[in-house]
């Protein structure tokens, strides 16, 4: 009896120890993000004002606002969406609904995985060579959006394909048995059911694009622009590049401006993230299978 009691005691201790360990590890994961966010909020908030968000930079970026950078990032993200989303979703539909499982689709899949692994600076250099120089788009919003679009494609394709495959096969069989063509089945049943998953993937992909510096470094971004860009073939200022500039390239830059810029970029990206979470939560609540 005594031995059995001791053994239970031992197991309980081990259990508590294990529980404490996983809790600790969980806290360690959360801490850096909390720290980064808290630090940037505290340091950046004092410099944040309506003038900062709605004004143009003055005195060699050392004063004034960051409106051109905010608008530049919004426009870049929007044009990237227009380029990457249709292509990404179409590719996902092809892979999930039409393509057979053969060597050809295997090659496509490997290409997508590798595309996701390419460092962003390589995308930037590719964009410089392919869009800025070869296609003669110059350093422009269009060249940057194309570069960001290609970088975003693997995320959108993978997430969309996964969302499409999650729609039960039986829906497709029923639709076909009722005289539906494959495309009618996709448009009326599969796509609407997968839409929220696709949207989540799209937003997460764009969020990454919105925060990247390297791909726009050689293709879009300029340090300073006195006027807002007037066409897609103009270069633009953009938040990540602006942050890089004020943080490292300008001597005597007020710290408050650096942190406030970082704060705006963080809020923009986290806002997109929150949007993705919201779409996903709403879709789960309304799902009919």
């Amino acid at each position: 009896m005594k031995a059995a009691g001791a053994s239970i005691q031992k197991r309980q201790t081990a259990q508590q120890l294990g529980y404490a360990l996983v809790t600790l590890v969980a806290v360690i994961t959360i801490l850096p993000i909390l720290f980064i966010m808290g630090y940037i909020f505290i340091r950046g908030l004092p410099a944040l004002s309506w003038e900062f968000i709605s004004g143009f930079p003055t005195q060699g970026l050392k004063a004034g606002g960051i409106l051109p950078s905010i608008l530049g990032t919004v426009v870049l993200t929007f044009v990237t969406t227009l380029i990457a989303v249709p292509i990404g979703i179409a590719a996902a539909i092809y892979l999930s609904e039409y393509a057979a499982d053969n060597r050809w689709t295997k090659i496509i899949r490997i290409a997508i995985i590798n595309l996701a692994g390419i460092p962003s600076v390589v995308y930037g250099l590719f964009g410089l060579g392919a869009f800025v120089i070869f296609l003669r788009l110059g350093v422009s919003i269009l060249a940057g959006a194309l570069t960001l679009g290609i970088m975003t494609l693997p995320v959108i394709i993978s997430a969309s394909e996964e969302a499409l495959r999650a729609v039960p096969q039986s829906f497709r069989v029923v639709s076909i048995s009722l005289g539906g063509t494959p495309w009618q089945t996709i448009r009326r049943i599969v796509l609407p059911q997968a839409l929220s998953g696709i949207m989540t993937g799209v937003v997460l992909g764009l969020e990454r694009a919105a925060g990247e510096t390297a791909p726009i470094l050689f293709t879009t971004a300029v340090i300073y622009q006195p006027n807002l860009p007037d066409s897609l073939l103009s270069p633009t200022m953009a938040l990540p590049y602006h942050l890089y500039t004020v943080a490292t390239q300008v001597p005597g830059m007020p710290e408050a401006i650096q942190y406030a810029t970082a704060l705006v970029l963080l809020v923009f990206v986290l806002g997109l993230n929150a949007l993705a979470t919201f779409i996903r939560a709403r879709a789960r609540a309304h799902r009919q299978w």
Binding site: V174, S175, S177, G179
Partner: protein, 256 residues
């Protein structure tokens, strides 16, 4: 009159599972034909030849003859690779073992097939919804909530909705693959009663989920074993006086 004529039909899948060997049968119009036997006997495969749902499966060889006979006596070659399968599937309805309602409203499920076929007339769609629900003995239970999601229905209601959904297209031939396997006895009775009424105007092929159901409902019956049609007869004869030993063994419960 025969609705489907099958002669020397052979079928093999690429992975070597379930096959059909030299099947010969004629499915009479305006009657319930039951195809029964142990799992893997080829019943479902035969059913899926009739609406070409086997196009979705990995079929290696398909040979022989299978014809669908229209009301005017014209025939359609079901094995023709160039057959308009979309048009065929509007003439041949199917109900599956599990109730699979589409993620639409109750009404949306019923109008789905017609809308795909290009029907836009609301009056005709409304009329179809009411008729098909009445035929499937579901109208009284759902008539006041046609706009509700179909998943909100109980399992038995969902399966009757699936039956109504195939009836909405007014098919000549209705295929049912163990439609009551997941249903309670009361709903099973309702479905069987519906089928008895429907056979006046439709031809029905049913894979029953039990020998009892086969005996209860079948006007004609075929016993399938390992891809062979072992015996074919008028329903009552086959169950009271089987000619083949293997049929007798199966229906008396010696195997299966």
């Amino acid at each position: 009159m025969d609705k489907v004529i099958v002669e020397h039909l052979y079928l093999n899948y690429s992975d070597g599972t379930e096959s059909l060997k030299d099947i010969n049968l004629r499915i009479p119009a305006n009657a319930i034909t039951v195809l029964f036997g142990p799992a893997g006997g080829g019943k479902s495969s035969l059913l899926r030849v009739f609406n070409r749902l086997n196009d979705l499966a990995d079929v290696k060889d398909l040979a022989g003859k299978a014809l669908l006979v229209g009301a005017d006596g014209s025939t359609l070659d079901l094995l023709d690779p160039d057959l308009d399968v979309i048009a065929l599937r509007r003439r041949v309805g199917m109900v599956f073992a599990r109730p699979i309602v589409l993620p639409l409203t109750i009404r949306g499920n019923l109008t789905y097939g017609l809308e795909l076929a290009g029907e836009r007339d609301k009056a005709r769609l409304d009329e179809t919804v009411e008729r098909s629900l009445k035929q499937a003995a579901l109208w009284d239970e759902v008539k006041d909530r046609l706009g509700d999601p179909a998943v909100a229905l109980s399992g038995g209601q969902q399966q009757r909705l699936c039956l109504a959904r195939s009836l909405a297209l007014e098919p000549e031939l209705i295929l049912l693959d163990e439609p009551t396997s997941g249903l309670d006895p009361i709903t099973t009775n309702m479905v069987e009663a519906s089928l008895q009424e429907l056979k006046e105007n439709y031809t029905i092929v049913l894979i029953p989920h039990s020998i009892e159901q086969a005996a209860r409902t079948g006007d004609f019956a075929g016993f399938f074993l390992q891809g062979e049609l072992v015996e074919w007869a008028q329903g009552k004869d086959l169950f009271t006086n089987p000619k083949v030993k293997r049929t007798e063994d199966y229906i008396t419960g010696r195997f299966g």
